[in-house]
Amino acid sequence: MATKNWPLWEVFVRSKNGLEHRHFGSLHAADAEMALENARDVYTRRNEGVSIWVVESKYITASNPEHNGELFEPAQDKVYRHPTFYDLPDEVKHM
């Protein structure tokens, strides 16, 4: 068994300029440079990207699904944040 395993990295790829980076998957690499190169070889072999971010997975802090109630449900009834909440006369076609 190797002394230490290559850590896990998360890969984000921008498919083309104008779009955001999107999570594509993960891979193992010893350092950031290798993670970038591997990401290029693994996730963009079919011309899927123009820019890559990699971040070591341990640096990602994720919300806990158990807290979904307090985190996300309060936003459900704030209908006034959406345009459809507001009544307009039919004559106004676009607003």
Partner: protein, 318 residues
């Protein structure tokens, strides 16, 4: 947690899946769900990387440059698919090294089909056409399985694999339309790969142990026997089209069922290979373990270098 609380959580969990909601890595899940997924997903990942070996066997000997690059790209895709699937499995709290360990010690299984040898170039055609054909039938339904990371990995796999089967069938077409020697090579490959491909879709429903639970969790959508019938019905006309004969004297169109009847599968052979006594089980494992062990000093070096670089960076900051 009390037993009742767990029961309650499980009930909610099953309801979520029934509503077609996806389960994500940090969500609560029954331990059995986690274990079943680790088992099936890693088995799938192992199959991809062990599956590189029989085809990799012909990379250096591919008959033309066009075939060589296609085969290289295909085997490389299998490495990529293994990687996607290992990554997805890792979200369930097990490391890739642990998964390798399970593979290398024989604790984990992989698809038995890869324990058959690739003896001629036509085997590249037969594998692409039949083995990938059977794999696609297995895999497409998994694109909508309940575990999010698995479903996402499978969507990418299925998208990329669409060229694999065509690549194989094209090889077969070329051979079937070639010289008598080439045609014979193609027929021989079909003879050797047909039955293992049918076995690849799993034991008969009567003997399959996990099916009911797997159906509920959308790890499976159809039974093994249904999948097998689907595979046969779709493949027989493809063989007819290129003038090859399916090596089954009992194969017959059943007008009433609108399906092919087919002969008895040799399940003894199936279980023999599953239990580790197929023609290539030992070699395949030796190749995987060997590559892993020969790579150890390389992986260690990369880690050591990364740590040194990190240290240097920190010292510079100070």
């Amino acid at each position: 947690m009390s037993e009742e609380q767990i029961k309650n959580l499980e009930k909610q969990f099953e309801e979520r899946i029934a509503r077609d909601e996806k389960i994500e890595p940090k969500d609560w899940m029954p331990e059995k769900y986690r274990q079943t997924h680790i088992r099936q997903m890693s088995q799938h990942a192992h199959s991809e990387i062990v599956g590189m070996l029989p085809e990799g066997n012909w990379i250096t000997r591919a008959p033309s440059l066009r075939r060589k690059v296609a085969l290289l790209a295909k085997v490389q895709d299998e490495a990529g698919h293994g990687l996607y699937l290992y990554s997805a499995t890792e979200t369930l709290g097990i490391s890739r090294d642990e998964l390798y360990e399970q593979l290398h010690t024989g604790k984990a299984k992989y698809s038995s089909i890869f324990n058959y040898p690739t003896l001629t170039w036509a085997d590249m055609g037969a594998i692409g056409w039949l083995v990938d054909g059977a794999a696609i039938i297995n895999q497409v339904p998994l694109c909508s399985t309940s575990y999010g990371p698995y479903a996402r990995a499978m969507i990418r796999v299925c998208k990329e694999e669409s060229f694999h089967q065509r690549q194989g069938y094209e090889i077969m077409i070329k051979l079937a339309n070639g010289t008598p020697e080439q045609k014979e090579m193609a027929q021989d490959a079909l003879n050797r790969w047909w039955w293992p491909s049918l076995m690849m879709l799993g034991p008969t429903d009567a003997e399959s142990i996990h099916t009911e639970q797997s159906m509920k969790w959308k790890l499976k959508r159809k039974s093994n026997d249904e999948l097998r019938q689907q595979f046969i019905d779709q493949t027989v006309p493809q063989a007819d089209l290129i003038g090859l004969t399916i090596p089954d004297p009992n194969l017959k169109w059943n007008e009433e069922r609108q399906s092919y009847d087919f002969g008895e599968i040799d399940w003894d052979e199936f279980w023999q290979v599953v239990k580790g006594h197929g023609p290539m089980n030992k070699e395949r494992m030796k190749a995987r373990v060997g590559a892993w062990e020969r790579g150890e000093w390389v992986r260690d070096a990369a880690m050591a270098y990364a740590e040194k670089q990190q240290d240097r960076k920190e010292k510079q900051v100070v």
